[in-house]
Amino acid sequence: MIYLKSFIFCGLVSALAELILSKTKLTPGHMTTLFVIVGSFLDVFDIYDKLIVWAGGGALVPITSFGHLLIHGAMDMATNSNFMGLLTGMLNLTAAGITSAIIISFYLSLIFKPKD
């Protein structure tokens, strides 16, 4: 059942992005940025946490979860040390994603050559 839910949720988010992309003149770069902001906005009142409980991995895969993880780490720290916690905890949960993206893309770019 969780597989069906994650299929539907991730599919709906992508379909929504495609719909906005085809109706307006925005680029894919605009779309990813927009969806990160939407993700962090949804976490202001813990809505995204409920979505993750509902859709499982399907809610973690879209780029909206990146914004969610950013504000989630910040708020976790902020419960102890208010406004300073926002700064220290911001990258706590996304560190794995950003670091691995930097390292993997660096080493792969040394191995592979551009196609065209």
Partner: protein, 148 residues
């Protein structure tokens, strides 16, 4: 030729993209990525005996690796042509943005090429993610403080 006539002619001959078909393709592509994510979480939490939260981090790293590798092999562009936003909105789109920037600017050198241009496309995601998360975090702290 008259300018109006020309623009009408251009409009007539521009290939029209079927919106509903593309949206459906994006739905299928995104759904497959969601399935893959949930499947990887289950596999990792079974294999390495870790909590679901940690398995989620492993899953994200795996998807980033796959996105980077497929971009290097040149398969990602073909898949994006078919699935469109179904592959751009999942975390693989972020990996693709970084990998294509590093691949493209590699010939300009390690420092001035890869180093400075790595975040050329993906930088806006990180920058606006942090900006929005900080702004919303401050708002939420103020609201929680008022409610206390």
């Amino acid at each position: 030729m008259d300018e109006n006539k020309y623009s009408i002619l251009v409009k007539k001959h521009t290939p029209k993209e079927d919106v509903s078909k593309n949206v459906f393709k994006a739905f299928i592509g995104g759904g497959i990525m969601g399935l893959l994510g949930q499947g990887l979480i289950d596999i990792y939490s079974f294999l390495f005996n870790v909590s679901t939260k940690e398995a989620g981090i492993y899953m994200i790293v795996t998807l980033i690796f796959l996105g980077c590798l497929f971009t290097c092999l040149g398969w990602f562009d073909r898949l994006v042509n078919f699935f469109r936003c179904g592959l751009i909105i999942p975390i693989t789109g972020f990996a693709h943005a970084m990998q294509s920037a590093t691949l493209e600017y590699r010939r300009e050198g390690l420092i001035t090429g890869i180093g400075t241009c790595m975040f050329k496309l993906a930088g806006s995601v990180i920058a606006y993610g942090i900006i929005s998360a900080y702004t919303f975090g401050v708002i939420r702290l103020i609201i929680l403080g008022v409610l206390k």
